[in-house]
Symmetry: C2
Subunit: 363 residues, 2 copies
């Protein structure tokens, strides 16, 4: 820390991104990336002409990308805001709408970014415990008097709130924004975008990083009332006016255009997920009912930490969290069928060894 | 504005980016872009393999790009911070180091982003008037008790402070950071990076948007003490952990590698600039001694606004600012030799018509 850092940021606590190993080839199931490349149309569109034109600025209004997203979700152009990944969208939302008066809350177990941002920016953030079964008790959010952020499906649990439940939260908190982070919505749950007409305090956030196979291009977006979007745009133009580079704008547009590919990839991920759930349950795992591109699993015969470590030794990278309530669990992103076959195969071996081991030491 | 926006941002005032016209082909000399494409190595490197790999996250530590910048400027890896354009770098610097106690100041005529950010974030920002000849009076900054931001060369004047002058400012403000924004340094002035060893309160900011022909890729960076860089990294990891997308990281690396191309392009811009200055002076313009990739010009026989409008009518886009002190001036980015020949030719025509017109109405 330098002596120049202002007092407000003395608690700066950076988010720790999922490991991006450089030394060894792993089956990489630790950051919920898509196992398939972006649409071939994206690959074709970013050609030598595009790259040779990078001496010119990108469109600061991200006109084409905004328009195609608006059309896709059947909302107006001025109801869409695009950020450098949904992290930037979420950060700008928290900057714009949270202060000591309006505050914020979110589940205690959820996407780690909300907590990191809140701590770093010294926000009054209440972490609301999930129930023991990892579901959200919506009563905790009724009339809560704070801005609310809920990942739906939630991460890393994969569990979903119904629209009826979300509407109760929206109606009882009309003076605060309710952010529904739908990073994983395309893997089998229903977007709240259709609720926007009824609820001017709703902000839906989505990303191109998961279901659109573009984590490396950094595109996230918010859909909300035009007044909220106007606020976010003003924030953006004060911080990073040209926030989406030329290549990513094109990648985004082409990705939305190729809806067949989008649906095909996501359907494959869903099928692979359901099959993997079934196989792991057969092996004695408890597996949450994830509607995302990852599963969240635990087993009585091996600790979360050990299962994570053993998978890693066998060349499979997953994610283990140290939070006490979930440290018996491992989060496994859904890869290709071949990759998940490998997970099952290795898991059988690990369990066999673990049970043997436990037996020997008399457990 | 939505009713949810917090009080702090009630004065949100967005930066107005230079016009990016879509309707008509202009000679585009309004946003100080390079007139030449990025290095051919950049064009070759962003190939189908790279784009097909965008389903994976980019490196959040921007390792390769950070390393090559550090090597190029002969500083340590942990003395370099990379942002999504230098705007993001500057925004994070102002967030991290400016509060009601430490404050900030910058010239009244300079890069508009400093003012916009300060107003939007309600910072205590003092705008220090340039002298009548548009130079900076360093006495205004000696012992000023505020953080300081100086573009060097300054924009839109193009004028340069010497290292001796900058060191006086650094020495007299050791409890505050002094940000030297060197967006245009590669067009004929000397970087302050060599002063870093002596001055732990110095932050040098540069960009790939001008001299590296990559405005559309969004890469800016800061070089400073490792403590300051650590602060900026923590800020980044709290807001946009993956701030530089995969393609731009590669573009940046390849651009730094191709030093011959970098020097060749910048030398061409410098030669074209000097020739254009000379030609315009012959036509009666006053032209500041710009060390950048733009010139700042005024003429007694035609107002700044009229000259700008006439150039525009003739298909040449430049930049005119409404600030009273500089509204008789026009800023013209340096294009190719052919483009600048066209500027001279059109200017002769405009002047001829303007002088005729003024003569008729008896001026």
């Amino acid at each position: 820390m330098s002596k120049f850092l202002i007092d407000r940021f003395s608690n700066l606590e950076p988010y720790v991104p999922g490991e991006q190993p450089k030394e060894k080839k792993y089956i990489k199931l630790n950051t919920n990336e898509a196992p398939y490349p972006p649409s071939p149309n994206v690959v074709d569109a970013i050609d030598k002409v595009v790259v040779a034109g990078l001496n010119l600025y990108c469109d600061p209004d991200t006109t084409k990308l905004t328009k195609i997203i608006a059309d896709f979700y059947d909302v107006d152009f001025n109801e869409v805001f695009i950020g450098n990944g949904s992290d930037e969208v979420l950060a700008l939302i928290m900057m714009a709408f949270v202060d000591e008066k309006t505050k914020v809350c979110f589940p205690d177990i959820t996407y780690g970014f909300y907590r990191v941002f809140s701590k770093s920016f010294d926000l009054d953030a209440k972490e609301v415990p999930l129930k023991d079964d990892f579901t959200i008790d919506i009563n905790d959010y009724i009339n809560c008097g704070r801005n609310i952020i809920i990942a739906n499906p939630n991460a890393p649990t994969g569990l979903v709130l119904t629209h009826e439940e979300i509407e109760k939260i929206l109606i009882s908190n009309q003076d605060r924004v309710v952010v529904i982070d739908e990073a994983y919505v395309d893997f089998g749950s229903k977007s709240c975008i259709e609720l926007l007409d009824k609820h001017p305090n709703l902000i839906v956030v989505q990303t191109f990083s998961k279901s659109r196979n573009l984590a490396g291009a950094r595109i996230g977006f918010a859909i909300a009332s035009k007044e909220i979007i106007e606020d976010l745009n003003k924030m953006k133009f004060s911080i990073t006016p040209y926030n989406i580079n030329t290549m990513s704008q094109i990648a985004g547009v082409e990705s939305v255009k190729d809806n067949d590919y989008f649906e095909k990839c996501n359907n494959k991920v869903i099928a692979t997920r359901e099959r993997t759930k079934k196989e792991l349950r057969k092996l004695g795992f408890r597996v949450t009912d994830s509607k995302t591109n990852f599963i969240f699993v635990t087993h009585d015969s091996i600790s979360g930490k050990e299962y994570y470590s053993e998978l890693r030794k066998h060349g499979i990278l997953t994610r283990h969290f140290n939070d006490k309530r979930i440290n018996e669990y491992v989060r496994i992103s859904i890869g290709t069928d071949e990759e998940m076959d490998k997970v099952i195969e290795v898991t059988k071996k690990i369990l066999y060894e673990a049970v043997n081991y436990n037996f020997v030491v008399g457990k």
